[in-house]
Symmetry: C3
Subunit: 206 residues, 3 copies
């Protein structure tokens, strides 16, 4: 079997020790995991941008990949850590809408509240769940831990309605810009979500 891939998507930037700390924890607990950076330059605390970027890339990875995403303005509050089984992938991170577009696209995804702290780091800070909770849980999953060991299924994950478009009476569709990329392209939410088979718009304008 190929080694298990763990991707990282955060708003941590790359100038601090944060990303390195997560990689160190993962490789300590799952030495054969292959850690792949998606991006660490999501604008700080911009959950929508994180949700969009994750939705645009997760399915390019091999089935079985574990997507660890942390854009987490509510770290330290009582927002839940969640594990999502959707399509052939696992997603782990905060329950704040970061997985909203993935959930819109994959009906029937299984969502768990991660309550079992056996796999967390023993000394946990209140501000760095990426290192202390999400990284070691991702490593445990890469080592083969069944998702069911981590906590109960929930039905009410936070959803942000990012893929909702409005079908106007004159036949037009109203969406919105949800991301502006490195080259200045605007990405709209037309064609995202479950409507994506209907609307063939590329969603790109200059």
């Amino acid at each position: 079997m190929s080694p298990r891939i763990i991707t990282l998507l955060t708003d941590f930037g790359t100038e601090d020790y944060f990303v390195g700390a997560m990689k160190g924890v993962i490789l300590t607990r799952s030495p054969e995991a292959v850690v792949v950076d998606i991006t660490h330059a999501i604008p700080p605390q911009d959950v929508r941008a994180g949700a969009f970027t994750l939705s645009a890339v997760y399915s390019n990875f091999p089935a079985g990949s574990i997507h660890l995403a942390v854009v987490d303005p509510g770290v330290g509050s009582d927002r839940r850590p969640v594990l999502i089984e959707a399509a052939d992938y696992l997603f782990i991170g905060p329950d704040n809408g970061l997985f909203s577009i993935v959930l819109d696209r994959v009906p029937g995804a299984k969502i768990r509240h991660v309550t079992n702290s056996d796999y967390f780091l023993p000394d946990r800070s209140s501000t760095f769940h990426g290192r202390d909770i999400f990284a070691p849980v991702a490593a445990a999953l890469a080592q083969g831990l069944p998702p069911g060991e981590l906590g109960p299924i929930i039905q009410d994950p936070v959803r942000l309605g990012l893929t909702e478009c409005e079908f106007l009476s004159d036949g037009a569709i109203a969406g919105r810009v949800i991301h502006i990329d490195h080259f200045g392209n605007c990405v709209t939410n037309l064609g995202f979500g479950e409507q994506r088979n209907i609307i063939q718009s590329s969603g790109l304008c200059s």
Copy 2:
């Protein structure tokens, strides 16, 4: 045998999903490949800077490495995708001069127009050949595909003349600055290309 290395050099930045998408495609099609970032911060569409950076680093990698480079202002036009066999390396990317300095340095390189679409992604966008064409072709090469399967040899790749210096009548040599690095050093084109054995200039000035 060691796993095959695929390096990435682009102007995609690291804030979007672009780089992650390429890595996902590569690892899906060549699970044992080792993907190494050279840089994704080539100034947008600056083919010269990409050509310089690639020329400065490719030979530090193990023989057999595959260098995937995408700085591609002409994506979606009829510019050709090319595969180059030069020294002990493979290079894959757009035919726009990005491999110009490598070609200046390695006489006798074999250049192919990549015309065989069997290894491209089935659904291709017109704006993201990095993910849809170059990444899967690099993965196929990493899996052992013979270069000859990808397309015919061509003799007229785009060359930018970046390494040409002028030998003046008073014995002086006129070159030009082709790059300014992170620390503010100016890099000239003196000492690049086939003249490099003659001119021992370090090419660095403060």
Copy 3:
């Protein structure tokens, strides 16, 4: 045995070929090494910031990891290259205080002046020891070279006193801010160094 991890921490930025060149040299000489970026965005020549970042992350990696760090304003001068054995880790880089906090934290660390040039690249520049000296030495260590082969033990590494706090007569403690992170948090030196078991301050203020 798991492949050996080599982490990289530098002020090289990611826009140039510098980081790619180090990775290429490492993978050429130690094909099974796993190279992990900690950061390349230490502010240029800011040895203190490098020392702090390294101290915050090194122990998250598996025992046996090799931490290669280069923030090196004195490159080309007679500052020494050093190899440090501290706790279960190896550290390699310039002797300019970059390992100062690690040395404060790990009493009894063994420090060597790297004098054996057998493992350096044959053609060395005076400005890029990261590629020409530190990367190949790290690769040799990853391949199992005993540290003692690299040079003699020294007792006088450069130390910057970064973890020293002042205990004032009124019972207060005076420290200083040694880093401001991506989210704007200020990190003080309270709680670093050997005093860390006494002072429980998180060292974070907004």
